[in-house]
Symmetry: C2
Subunit: 247 residues, 2 copies
């Protein structure tokens, strides 16, 4: 049984608490938030608003805002492994046994996430602590990857492109449909197939469209069609970037 305490009560914390609760090999010892109000949802667990009152555990999982992680961990003085869950924060150098347990996934408040095969990027200050994080990943059927801080920063950057930026392009498609009285549903099979396709060929080979085939008359017409000047520029830049890729 892995004894784990969760520091934080936000989105990521809530998803982890929910999956730890379901796991037969994980025991939630305590949940911390500095604000008592946020702990009310978790009243069936032992909770605390004081770092000094943290009970012993194998692992303390830090699920708080990136820019608060270092300050909080440096105030902690515990015996277990202290693992943060942030993609952009390096492995810390606190008085604790520092580690990273970064889930490479996008978490929404009201949508369940499957932890099965979810990539968990693991890094530890002490080699001997690695097995605790690996066991925790196994206990929720996630997939552990050894990823150092430099690699994790690159992954975080890659994630911005394939998740945050991709979602913004979905939004542009959604906006075009709304403005022209077309149902967004009409784009859904295409969105799904575009995501599926790269499981069969790599994205460089999967590229299609006017930019790739240098169909300048369609490109010009599209830029004219766009009314939003920011989207016009974005269309030009994405087209340039595709064309430079295949030069």
């Amino acid at each position: 049984m892995i004894k784990v305490s969760v520091i934080g009560t936000g989105n990521v914390a809530t998803h982890f608490i929910s999956v730890f609760e379901k796991s037969d090999t994980t025991e939630i010892i305590q949940i911390y938030n500095h604000n008592n109000e946020s702990l009310k949802r978790f009243s069936k667990f032992n909770t605390t608003t004081k770092l000094d009152d943290l009970k012993p555990a194998d692992l303390f999982l830090i699920c708080i805002k990136d820019d608060k992680v270092e300050g909080l961990v440096k105030k902690m003085n515990v015996n277990g492994v202290v693992a943060h869950t942030s993609g952009s924060v390096p492995l810390l150098d606190s008085p604790n046994r520092d580690a990273v347990f970064y889930p490479l996934q996008t978490f929404s408040k009201d949508k369940n996430i499957s932890f099965k095969d979810l990539p968990l990027c693991i890094e530890t200050e002490n080699e001997s602590d690695r097995h605790i994080l690996k066991s925790l990943a196994d206990s929720i059927r996630a997939k552990a990857y050894n990823v150092n801080s430099r690699q994790r920063q690159e992954l975080h950057l890659a994630a911005v492109f394939v998740c945050n930026f991709v979602n913004h392009l979905y939004h542009i498609g959604h906006e075009i449909c709304s403005e022209k009285d077309l149902p967004f549903d009409i784009l859904r099979p295409l969105i799904q197939e575009t995501a599926d396709k790269i499981n069969f060929k790599n994205p460089k080979e999967a590229q299609t469209g006017p930019a790739k085939r240098k169909d300048q008359s369609t490109i010009n017409r599209h830029i004219n069609q766009l009314e939003n000047p920011v989207y016009k520029e974005l269309y030009r830049y994405l087209t340039t970037s595709i064309q430079k890729t295949y030069e």
Copy 2:
């Protein structure tokens, strides 16, 4: 039984031929290509290299390059409906019964596509021809939408954003992984979840990431991390576009 002849032997033609062949309510009358070599793969069907030799059919489906469609259709003189399959070509004004049967999907040479619920954008010169296209869509279990030429041009533009441009962002993620010795597999669950998520909330609400939360220190670090100057600019533009959306 809908009698259909397919004009062209490329990617889109091949997918349509394959699904028509499986349908109990569709009969392939003939396949045309000006080049005899391209027809060899289809020797089990009646084929022709001459437009003048086209046999009578309910529908002639034009699956050739966008910029060749108009020239070819104007050379045809047939009795059935002549429907092109191109997103960017308007409804033609040829001597034939012109129509459009545009599948909003990305087709790959070596990957099967499910036609079930695939959106087919239908437009006809004569209102009375609409039912033929609707029946053809039904016969392959696709979903017919009435979409006029102006709307279709907008859909084509939207498709470039949510398919072609999205795929390019996948490519950038893939390149970052390759360069840093990280397996691209680690990004796949995130890519899948990003595409799934917009079935539960609209993309504007689903947006996350440093641009959305105005995390300027992460944005600056990411731009510094990128070595390719085109990607740097792209990162900046996408960030600006996201931020303007939430102003």
